[in-house]
Symmetry: C2
Subunit: 378 residues, 2 copies
């Protein structure tokens, strides 16, 4: 067996989910519970009736690639050649790491707290990685200077996620601009940014989230329809970036899975042809967020108000903060509420629990009440 | 950039396809031109209307995994835990190579002529590989003793493909049994067989092709619906094998793309629930094969009669046999017929051209006529 596979630590999210029983309140979910509009699916099947279901080009359907460039390229990457259509944003992240980095010399810097697939993927590929933590005392505020200070001589890729899982923070435009300027001022070999923008349509700030690609030419943008349109099972994402890196990524993509599903690409094309569809679930999440914050206030729970995505971090009291895994286990055992321990997102989030608020509003309110009872008992 | 990506040699198939012009006769195709039945697609969309489009478990839908085990497990691998649902058989092959082999010590043995993604994937993963050639003078007859003689002390995986691309040969049961017995007699660390069975429904022998998994416990079976059901764009395949290897493969799968498309899995489930659908295109190919062989005889072309798949190897005359790439280029330039040079399948097939006979019968006949004219002129 490949030792790199066994080296990957087991998933804490998976461990807590394995303990879930029917009837539990699930605030641990990582996917929307809304139903997607079936119309793009019906149109895709109509297309199959007329065309069959042949492969697309490895990099994806040409029109879809162009439309994705227009949507996710931040004005910098505007051509089909800047886009590889992928099997979800997970594959986009994999392709970026695999095609860009030389395992014998390069290093990845991951901004935590974050989805731990980033460092685990580096482990799988034998690529050195370090993390830089945003400051918990400052509500995990996005901070370009912290990232710049953490760069090392071998750093060739920085992984950002905005809007962020699990913090719900959005990197402000001026902070991204400072980050890009700092990287530019550094000189030498370029440092790429992998910007995971999978939650970009789910924002609660005045303006939509900005992309680092607007300021930084060495940007790789990962995204998908999973969260915006409740289409996690569609496995349709993209990697957008400079043509040379995307070209190498397409080569890897070809050996890993040939191409993304033609059927999924047709569904995506039907959505991108009416771009208003990309934002069709946003108002729902705005309402759900208001309900979450009202419930948290009612129960006097300290949560970070999310600026984006559909998660909120809850601060554990000092008696529980040293072990978020144990806290999540006890909350599940004693009150039947599933949450994700902060440690599942790196050491930086130890002392917190991640609450997901995609569950129906009544369940979220009941969950918050039970959490408050649990915390009072400690 | 990752040097392993740039090391992968460019594709000869891609190079010849890039020269294709509208109106050319295409005997270079690697996918069916039949139309799939839309009924399984309609049922899948009906399911989405009722359930949305959520992720399945990483390894795939449980019922689908069980049905695939029953179909492709050769009586040895019969449980869901023996199956990972993949993004086409390409991903299955990738997962097998990536999860099984330790790049610091293991070696892969590839049986040529074959689809060159096998060795290229090894290059991408930094895994040593060698090839063993079946004998062109013997029509590339499957030969267990040749494979056994080529094993080295570091060989941990042998890659077979039956029915085979490009030869159309099917490994007979007794030859597979001899191979399994030889591997067993060897002792020491087990040598796995990766059996690419993507063409298994397209056979023209008296009995369906056997799987090495029937005799060899260390077998990994890759397959998909791409060729059997003209569903290349569905990107729905499987890796079937011992639970420990499949478990490691699922772990890799999770980091590479999370899971196969739920929509594609629903289409597949609708096919597996009526298994007769898996063989629904076989009689079409039987007829097309007869037409190909009649056309070749009429034009006095020396082709290997295919026992399976939808390819046939054509032997080039001595004046052209030293350079199949040049022969294919000239055939395209002078007669506007696309074929694939044998060298695209390894040195063992130099001196041959691969003809694909999925094109409409008239096109295949016209193509054979033009090839005969071309060869007469040389």
């Amino acid at each position: 067996m490949n030792p790199a596979v066994s080296e990957i630590p087991p998933s804490l999210i998976r461990a807590i989910n394995a303990r879930k029983r029917p009837g539990d309140i699930d605030l641990g979910l990582g996917e929307p519970t809304l139903r997607p509009d079936p119309a793009p699916f019906e149109a895709a099947v109509e297309w199959v009736r007329g065309h069959g279901c042949p492969y697309t080009a490895n990099a994806g359907d040409a029109e879809l690639r162009e439309r994705i460039a227009g949507y996710a390229g931040a004005g910098r990457f505007s051509e089909a050649a800047n886009v590889c259509v992928t099997v979800g944003s997970e594959e986009a992240i994999y392709l970026a790491v695999k095609s860009l980095l030389d395992p014998t010399r390069d290093e990845v810097l991951v901004v935590e707290p974050c989805y731990l697939a980033y460092p685990k993927l580096c482990t799988l590929e034998g690529i050195a990685h370090r993390s830089v933590a945003l400051d918990a005392a400052d509500g995990f505020r996005p901070d370009a200077s912290a990232v710049l200070a953490a760069l090392g001589p071998r750093t060739r890729l920085v992984v950002l996620n905005s809007p962020g899982n699990p913090t719900g923070r959005v990197w402000p435009a001026e902070e991204l601009e400072r980050l890009a300027a700092g990287l530019d001022a550094r000189g030498g070999e370029p440092v790429y940014i992998l910007s995971d923008e999978v939650y970009r349509e789910l924002y609660y700030t005045a303006a939509p989230p900005a992309s680092i690609a607007r300021w930084h030419p060495y940007s790789l943008v990962a995204g998908s329809l999973s969260k915006s349109n409740a289409l996690t099972g569609l496995r349709l994402g993209w990697l957008v970036g400079p043509g040379d890196v995307v070209g190498a990524a397409v080569k890897v993509h070809q050996f890993v899975n040939t191409a993304a599903s033609t059927l999924s690409q047709r569904v995506a094309l039907n959505i991108f042809r009416e771009p208003v569809r990309l934002a069709e679930h946003r108002s729902h999440y705005e309402g759900a967020r208001e309900a979450l914050l009202a419930g948290a206030e009612r129960e006097r729970l300290e949560v970070l108000p999310p600026e984006g995505a559909f998660y909120a971090l809850l601060r554990l009291p000092p008696t529980l903060a040293h072990d978020s895994v144990r806290a999540a286990e006890r909350l599940l055992e004693e009150k039947r509420v599933v949450t994700v321990p902060g440690r599942a997102f790196g050491e930086a989030a130890e002392g917190w629990l991640r609450l997901s608020w995609v569950a129906p509003q009544g369940a979220v309110e009941d969950g918050l009440r039970r959490i408050a009872q649990f915390l009072k008992g400690k």
